[in-house]
Amino acid sequence: MTLVADTHDAFAYLQGLYTEVALLIQEIEDHLRREEERFTIATPSGYSVTNRGSSGIDGANVKLWLMRKFGIFFVPEAKTELKGGSTFTPLSERILYFRFILDQHETIFFDKQALKEPSVLFGVFAETERVHKKFEKFESVLIHIEYNDDRVFADLPRVNFKDAYVGLRGTLGHVPLFALNDSKAVAERLVRPAIELFRRPPSD
């Protein structure tokens, strides 16, 4: 009975956690929509988060069965184009990025200090460099970040990453996920600092 109950509880907890994070994203959307930039969430392949998942059976891939971390980004409505159900955001645009770290937070270092708990990274990517021709839009960069997150986020709060495909520069902040317990906290601890980073002149 314990195994049955534990399995049920484990899935119920994860489902609850995922549901709340999805609602948190909608909350962020609502806040950002009201800003003068009228931010809209990018939809690389529909209304979804982007993560590196797998249903492979070998050990390394089994670890990817669950979503432990994933990203989304926002862009001023006027700076992206909706084609079908997907947005097309030129690499030249400043984008507002959010990354949800539900697990393995201890592998993320900010000013050389490991994160102590599940967190949300937030900030700006600007002047993304197209190195490989297949990268025309930031939507394509999102999954590339997932496959290279250990290198992209190796020197936070700064991001200065370049490989054979893309060059990324930006600045991120972070907030503990579980500190976001109501709409006010989302506005004050996540959305407001993110917007301040977005509006900061590029030279800062």
Partner: protein, 249 residues
């Protein structure tokens, strides 16, 4: 019906049915105390309805207009004919050959005619799962149409139910709120409620029988204690009629 869904008797494939959800939510408004619930909800949406008008409201689920268009619901109440178009996962219908044959323009035409016939003012109520009105299909509503358009979402219904005074809540209103929560159609309520629910099986009684035969525990109560959010401030479509201020320009 709520118990059917809450007790897991509805096939999972049907849980994404917008028609099932539409029936659940609007049957509540049709069948429960209309002064307490229908009038209050419409007031939140900016429509002032008197108690007697609420009592006399007429609900027509899935009526058919002359051209075959089938809105989800028509509510004749007070001075208004409210045409309800509900969406859950799908978007409003599109006709690639003729924009005027898109779903929203068709429903507006049919609704206008029906309202004229009844001597009422038309209001188009779209209810979706969007956190704010963002469907590109709203472009089908021209400026004139937008003056009669009331966008709302299922989450706002949940928030409204959460904020009902305890004295106004009924078993039916609480069950409807639970139906919406189970479907994730509520607003963000933080993470604190997760920790207690995760320990449910360890701390609480076993789900079916406690040790000795015949000592049944209340499974329904156990289910009810699964993740339930605390009341919160609404995100989009507040209890004040901000819905109408948050339309796309």
């Amino acid at each position: 019906m709520y118990q059917t869904e809450l007790r897991g008797k509805v096939p999972s494939a049907l849980l994404s049915s917008e028609d099932l959800l539409t029936g659940s939510v609007f049957s509540f408004f049709a069948c429960s105390d209309r002064r307490r619930f229908l009038a209050s909800w419409l007031k939140m949406l900016g429509l002032a309805i008197g108690d007697q008008e609420a009592d006399r409201a007429r609900f027509q689920f899935w009526p058919t207009f002359d051209d075959g268009t089938e809105p989800d619901l028509l509510i004749e109440v007070g001075a208004y004919l409210i045409l309800v178009e509900a969406k859950l996962q799908s978007d409003f219908g599109v006709n690639v050959e003729d924009k005027e044959a898109n779903q929203l323009p068709r429903e507006l035409r049919g609704g206008r005619q029906a309202a004229r016939d009844l001597g009422l003012e038309l209001r188009l109520l779209t209810i979706t799962a969007e956190p704010f009105p963002r469907s590109p299909r709203y472009k089908d509503l021209n400026e004139i149409d937008r003056s009669i358009w009331i966008p709302t979402n299922w989450q706002a219904v949940a928030t409204w139910l959460e904020r009902l005074p305890a004295t106004d809540q009924t078993d039916m209103s609480r069950d409807l709120l639970e139906v919406l929560r189970r479907r994730g159609l509520r607003c963000f309520s933080g993470f604190n409620h997760l920790s207690s629910s995760a320990q449910l099986s360890k701390r609480g009684p076993p789900l079916f029988f406690q040790g000795q035969i015949g000592t049944a525990v209340n499974l329904f109560e156990s289910i009810r204690t699964l993740p339930v959010p605390a009341p919160r401030s609404p995100v989009f479509l507040n209890l004040t009629p901000v819905t109408r201020n948050r339309r796309r320009p």
